[in-house]
């Protein structure tokens, strides 16, 4: 019997005031998979992510995270971790202190045990030797990995990544992609990635949705490799093959 989806989004409408960014959006994210939210700039990828993690409330429709319910209504130990685009590390705290902060807030662990857990998470992302560094003293790729370690510290089984490869050199981007694959395969974590980096999409994503600004919603969903090879939707084809696409000729995507 297939397990219950980790995330269910049903007939979602999101926007700000009278401006609708996305409507009639329905999709599911299966447990333990890597799911990509794709689309060009301004199509609402990051807005959708903000709704999925409960920072914004939708105008209509339903978001249900298994074991959490509606994320914007949830209170308590965060059941998912988030890696923000910039890493969003607290600049006045060392990497270890950044990880210790949620642990201190939500668990009774102190002292050597807390230190051991924090160090293990930093080791996991390859930053064990940088625990006492400030975010300003490490590179962009290291900041992202430290952000991943912080997102993992409360043992969430669901992680959200906002543009993880943005601003990284190709090697750092691939290293981060490998880390995402490790998290999914070895730790069984469900990963939702917002991105428009094609190499990253084809390397890590099991499944994806493609959003289009003009269509105000999903224009395709499925395995990104299959969509690249088989999709006949002009926008999707153009997106995956990096070819030019005339929006005015195809306003509906």
């Amino acid at each position: 019997m297939p397990s219950r989806p980790h995330i269910t989004v049903d007939d979602l409408r999101i926007g700000y005031g009278t401006r609708v960014l996305m409507e009639h959006t329905t999709f599911q994210v299966e447990r333990g998979t890597i799911f990509a939210i794709l689309g060009g700039s301004g199509c609402g990828k990051s807005s959708l992510l903000r709704h999925l993690i409960g920072l914004e409330r939708q105008q209509a429709g339903r978001i249900d995270i298994d074991g959490v319910g509606e994320p914007s209504q949830y209170e308590g130990v965060p059941p998912f971790g988030v890696l923000f685009q910039s890493g969003a590390l607290f600049s006045s705290l060392t990497l270890a202190e950044n990880l210790w902060l949620p642990l201190n807030r939500w668990t009774p662990m102190r002292g050597a045990t807390a230190h051991e857990l924090v160090q293990a998470k930093l080791d996991l992302v390859g930053l064990g030797a940088f625990a006492e560094y400030l975010p300003g003293e490490i590179s962009g790729g290291m900041k992202k990995r430290a952000g991943v370690a912080r997102a993992l510290v409360l043992e969430a089984d669901l992680l959200f990544f906002d543009e993880p490869s943005a601003g990284l050199d190709p090697i750092s981007a691939v290293e981060l992609d490998q880390l995402i694959i490790t998290l999914s395969r070895d730790l069984g974590i469900t990963v939702v990635i917002v991105t428009h980096e094609l190499p990253s999409i084809f390397l890590v994503a099991d499944n994806c949705i493609v959003l289009d600004k003009a269509a105000k919603g999903i224009v395709a969903q499925g395995d990104p490799r299959k969509l690249r090879d088989e999709s006949e939707i002009p926008f999707v084809h153009a997106f995956f093959t990096r070819s030019s696409y005339d929006v005015t000729a195809n306003p509906g995507g």
Binding site: S91, E155, T182
Partner: protein, 373 residues
């Protein structure tokens, strides 16, 4: 669900059997169980961890078991996991293989003498930075005169508004209150000798020569100095200063000169307005607290206002303003790091600016005293 780590011993071999939930929410109990089990392993040469009876494990539980195995191996014992639990085996293996062996942490000395020494050792470098910045500003003035387009003159009116005009209410209020305080102090002390008629002169001398420029400068340092330092520091950490340099601008000429000029023009004006309001404060205090008439007070005041009293104060004002501007901009440009560095530099800038205004004011007073002015 209870957590336990049972020890089954057979001679020199032991099997540790974890049961229950080895997860983040039970991490404290797991730590205790691991510690108790470890203490019971004296004399064991080999240890197995049997994962068959584990109900649940997550990263936290896996880390604690992985570190136990690491410590056992470091003690020279054979340590391994067994049992049909692929998820737990995989997690423990992941955390064991990704462990970083760190060098022993350096113990930081807390000896007070060492700390004093470390602070003193930094002073030449800091003094060098300060002189370097002052030198660059001094060189910027003739260069700006030669190439006026290298200075952002267009920002000057808005800077004067921001630094000067917007600060007028708070500097005026501060000077008014100081005028009242001097008046009350004069009435209290001079009144004992029946010398209340000297209160207007006391207010003029004390405020015009010393307190007017000083109070105004301190308020401007706290308000406008903090604003300038944080703005410059933010520009530095967000690479705007680097962008200016990359486009061929000299940040000292483009940013620092207009700000210092705006301060040098507006602070004397603020001081002058503050002096007038201090006179009003002294008048109100004296008229309310004594039988002196406003007319008599005004006469006493006009007699006390001499060119010497007025100018010794006003001459200081532009120098105090320059000190505030140079310190605020200099500290801002020295910022390195992220948002936290902006706050730290702003605090340093305000403290240094206030301290410098007091020292400069004292030096001027000493100079005028020596000159007999």
């Amino acid at each position: 669900m209870s957590v336990a780590l049972r020890t089954d011993r057979e001679g020199g071999h032991a099997t540790l059997v974890p049961t229950g939930s080895f997860d983040l929410s039970h991490a404290t109990e797991v730590t205790q169980a691991v510690s108790d089990a470890e203490a019971s392993l004296n004399g064991c040469r080999s240890v197995d961890v049997d994962l068959t009876q584990l109900d649940r494990i997550d990263g936290a539980g896996a880390v604690l078991l992985a570190r136990l195995l690491d410590r056992l191996e470091a003690d020279g014992r054979q340590a391994s996991v067994k049992g049909d639990n692929p998820e737990a085996t995989r997690l423990i293996a992941l955390y064991r293989e990704r462990r970083t062996i760190l060098p022993a942490p350096q113990i930081r000395t807390t000896n007070p003498l060492t700390r004093i020494g470390a602070v003193v050792a930094q002073l030449p470098g800091k003094a060098n930075d300060a002189f370097d910045f002052i030198g660059r500003c001094a060189v910027a003035i003739p260069k700006a005169a030669v190439t006026p387009r290298s200075v952002d003159w267009r920002s000057l009116p808005s800077l004067m508004q921001e630094i000067g005009a917007d600060a007028l209410p708070v500097t005026s209020a501060a000077n008014l209150v100081v005028g009242i305080i001097i008046g009350l102090l004069g009435i209290s002390e001079l009144g004992r000798f029946g010398a209340n008629s000297y209160v207007p002169e006391l207010v003029v001398v004390a405020h015009f020569r010393e307190l007017g420029p000083l109070v105004t400068a301190i308020v401007v340092a706290g308000r406008s100095g903090a604003g300038l330092a944080s703005k410059m520091a933010t520009m530095k950490v967000s690479e705007e200063i680097d962008a200016l340099r990359s486009m061929g601008f000299d940040p000292v000429r483009w940013l620092v000169l207009p700000r210092c000029l705006a301060l040098a023009v507006t602070v004397p004006l603020l001081t002058w307005v503050g002096d007038l309001l201090a006179l009003v404060g002294g008048l109100v205090a004296t008229v309310v607290m004594t039988d002196m008439t406003p007319h008599a007070y005004m006469e006493g005041t006009l007699k006390a206002i001499t060119a010497s009293n007025l100018l010794t104060g006003l001459i200081k004002a532009p120098f105090l303003a320059l000190a505030i501007g140079l310190i605020a901009c200099g500290q801002g440009l020295l910022t390195r790091g992220g948002a936290a560095a902006v706050g730290a530099r702003t605090t340093t800038a305000v403290v240094l600016a206030i301290f410098s205004t007091i020292v400069i004011s004292a030096l001027f007073t000493l100079f005028f005293a020596l000159m007999g002015a």
